[in-house]
Amino acid sequence: MVIDFSNFYDLSRELDRFFDETSRPLFFSQRRVAYPMVNVAEDDQNYYVDVNLPGVDPKEFELTLTDKNLVVKGERKPEEGRYYRRERLQGVFQRIVAMGAPVEREKVAAKFTDGVLHVTLPKSEAVKPRKIAIDN
């Protein structure tokens, strides 16, 4: 797997952080600069990955499900003109979300509304919680 972090990242530090962070759940209080921002949720049936991608045309980013990761990749292009203020992040971005458990690859669905990408990844039957009958 090739990890091409954008030029916003200090690669080695970011790699360390990436492996450190994907191994444990994070909470909102631990704010950091990541682009684009990602939320991950789960219930018994699905994983939900939401990505904040304001101003990115849905045609201009790629959503890939690899072996164990969900990869969002794309580019936010600057406007042509003279900038007086520039706060919005621009350039090439990539985020990798490690899926902790197998998902039904064929049934993954994605929706893009108001600059937020919603991805629903159904959990594999094998990992869904189920009740076990106890024989007397």
């Binding site: 759940p25 990602v38 219930d43 101003g55 003279r82 108001d114």
Partner: protein, 122 residues
Amino acid sequence: MSTDIAKKEASALPNYAPASDIVEMEDGFHILLDMPGVGREDLVIDLKENEVTISGRSAYAAPEGAKLLHQEFAAGDYSRTFALSDAVDREKIKAVLKNGVLNLYLPKAEELKPRRIEIVSE
């Protein structure tokens, strides 16, 4: 009473100043604001004297019943105010919301556009 409750709920959301770009293009000035999760109906633009205030609400929520494992963004109120110079033609300000970005178009006033001055010979 219900309005009081609504007010309390409103203030419970965190306030964000949306990241913004100010760009001068050929047709005038553009203010671009990142407002992901804000729909058209949740957006208010107020023009008052020489200030324009943009406020919106992102009603982001994790799917019902789901537990958040990792969170980097949340619902919130966006609000930001910009002072307008006299070079802006207030009557023709336009706003377009697309893919979570508000593009506020501020055309230059007609009298400030470059123009050639006619010479009248006598």
